[in-house]
Symmetry: C2
């Protein structure tokens, strides 16, 4: 009922709608309408009540609640089922649990804060309350498990496009799937899968997007390597609308991949990359080396030209080396 | 305590050991010993009690209980933790749950019966009580997720060697990981993994081994395609000793792969294969075709020579075509 009231208030944005009209349209008493309006106010909605004109929504709270998401969601599949937490250990863990229990494709898990947010290889992810988008998406793609790493590239493309378009921020992708602005990490993506040898049961794409974290809120160890959209732009942006934009972009690239395969997305990844053409250090599972990042191949692996030849990087950490000043400078 | 009593009875196999001696060695009263002996008898152990000589173990029940397994286990890692069920939905599901909760590598799940035993791609697996080995093994291999399909070939090699050596039954592997005898299925293997894009969290190798199922116990739809060791040999074999042999073989090939990579195991797989050299029908995710199975490549994919060239089979069902009688026969 509260979702329906909000929807009606939103369609009358900037105007008033009377309690009587709401009561008629939703077939409940005016007292019931009044009670729901009070609850919405308690949740943080700024609703003006005018004795003659009725109610008007002035401002919604900056929450990623299902009510709010549903009101601005444009994607069909992604976000069709929303699990929302004020605090959660890790959205990926929740999403994996739901996926193992058989939740439908497109289910998302969103939290205001994560207490044990995880990055790749069990590294932590700073996820303060109400300042970022801590999101996991469950997909059940008809791909072979071997193709799963390309899902992570696909997600990086979608999120980069959403941030570039919605925030007008020229961020780029560091292989395989970190999104950087000005050399600092804006977004981390952690993709996990559960698969038989010849079929994926499910994939969970987790994203940590630093939205409205001020520079001085980062813990000291992240101050030099992390950034946020707020820090980059100088003003906060709507987490809600960015989230919905990301879901729309991800749905589009996912449907494109299912339809046409990965090739077009890999081309798009290349144009959004900040890694290609750079001098890089590679720390692989067994060894370290340096070289120049040339391109990615059809499997999504990074090709690095080294003194001893071309190397294919499937796993590992790749860091971009700062340009050396020339000797004669 | 009962495990220790059993162990002592076993080390005195064919002889008697007095209640007094047991009581002294285990530092408990003779009454306590007597009570434990009664419990063991209730569990199905045939223990003879002689008024003067003491106790002698005549026969152990054919159960895959942790007590029994521990008494004959030779592997170090595999079986170090045993979860045993009289009835369970699916040993793979239990193993995945345990693995997600962080159980150590080498944990095994064994059941006397599965109520919803699963094969590949959610197909069922007939798992009657006390007649087979319904087993799942949790590994945490230091491989890339791309290498996981080769774990399933590794498991097929281990189980085939165990059955060949322990039962003297010339069974062989149908690509990728069914074990056949006389063209009928003796063993199915279902490998599932949980992984990040560049690290495996865990792999569960599930095996359904038809041991002592009589031919007429198979449901009608399996009568033509399933077989058992009992049906093939004409007499039952010890599930317990075969299970322990499988764990030993699997541990050996696993350790070899960690040490030397997959190449030697892939060679061994080829020598144990019944698919290579045969005319096959391939039903892939998107299409069907026929050809001759030539070999497996370094990724474990099956290479099939067709009229239109060499095809690489990563996923799908491959059936061996019965030889056509020659036209002039």
């Amino acid at each position: 009922m509260r979702t329906q009231i909000l929807q009606l208030l939103r369609t009358h944005s900037g105007q008033y709608i009377s309690g009587e009209e709401l009561s008629r349209m939703l077939a409940v008493s005016r007292t019931a309408i009044w009670k729901h309006i009070q609850s919405l106010k308690n949740e943080g909605y700024a609703i003006e009540a005018h004795p003659r004109l009725g109610y008007s929504l002035r401002q919604a709270p900056d929450l990623l609640s299902p009510k709010e998401i549903k009101a601005c969601l444009e994607s069909q599949l992604l976000g069709s089922h929303i699990h929302y937490f004020t605090d959660v250990g890790s959205t990926n863990n929740e999403a994996k649990k739901l996926a193992a229990e058989g939740c439908p494709e497109g289910t998302i898990v969103v939290a205001e804060a994560q207490t044990i947010g995880r990055g790749r290889l069990s590294r932590g992810w700073f996820s303060p309350h109400g300042k970022g988008i801590w999101l996991s998406v469950v997909l059940r793609p008809p791909f072979q498990p071997q193709q799963a790493p390309k899902c992570t590239l696909m997600a990086a493309v979608a999120v980069t496009k959403a941030i570039r378009n919605f925030c007008d921020l020229p961020c780029g992708i560091k292989w395989p799937n970190d999104i950087l602005y000005d050399g600092k990490k804006l977004v981390g993506i952690l993709t996990e899968m559960n698969a038989e040898m010849d079929a994926i049961n499910y994939i969970v794409i987790g994203m940590g997007i630093n939205v409205n974290i001020t520079a001085d809120e980062f813990p000291p160890e992240l101050a030099e390597i992390g950034t946020s959209i707020l820090a980059a732009k100088g003003h906060p942006v709507s987490r809600l609308h960015l989230l919905c934009r990301i879901l729309t972009e991800l749905e589009q690239v996912y449907q494109q991949v299912v339809r046409e395969g990965f090739a077009p997305i890999l081309e798009e990844w290349k144009t959004l990359s900040v890694t290609l053409g750079q001098a890089v250090n590679v720390i692989g599972p067994d060894e370290q080396y340096s070289g120049t990042a040339i391109t990615i191949d059809e499997d999504g692996a990074l090709l690095v030209e080294t003194d001893t030849g071309l190397r294919k990087v499937i796993a590992g950490d790749v860091s971009i080396r700062p340009r050396q000043p020339a000797n004669n400078s």
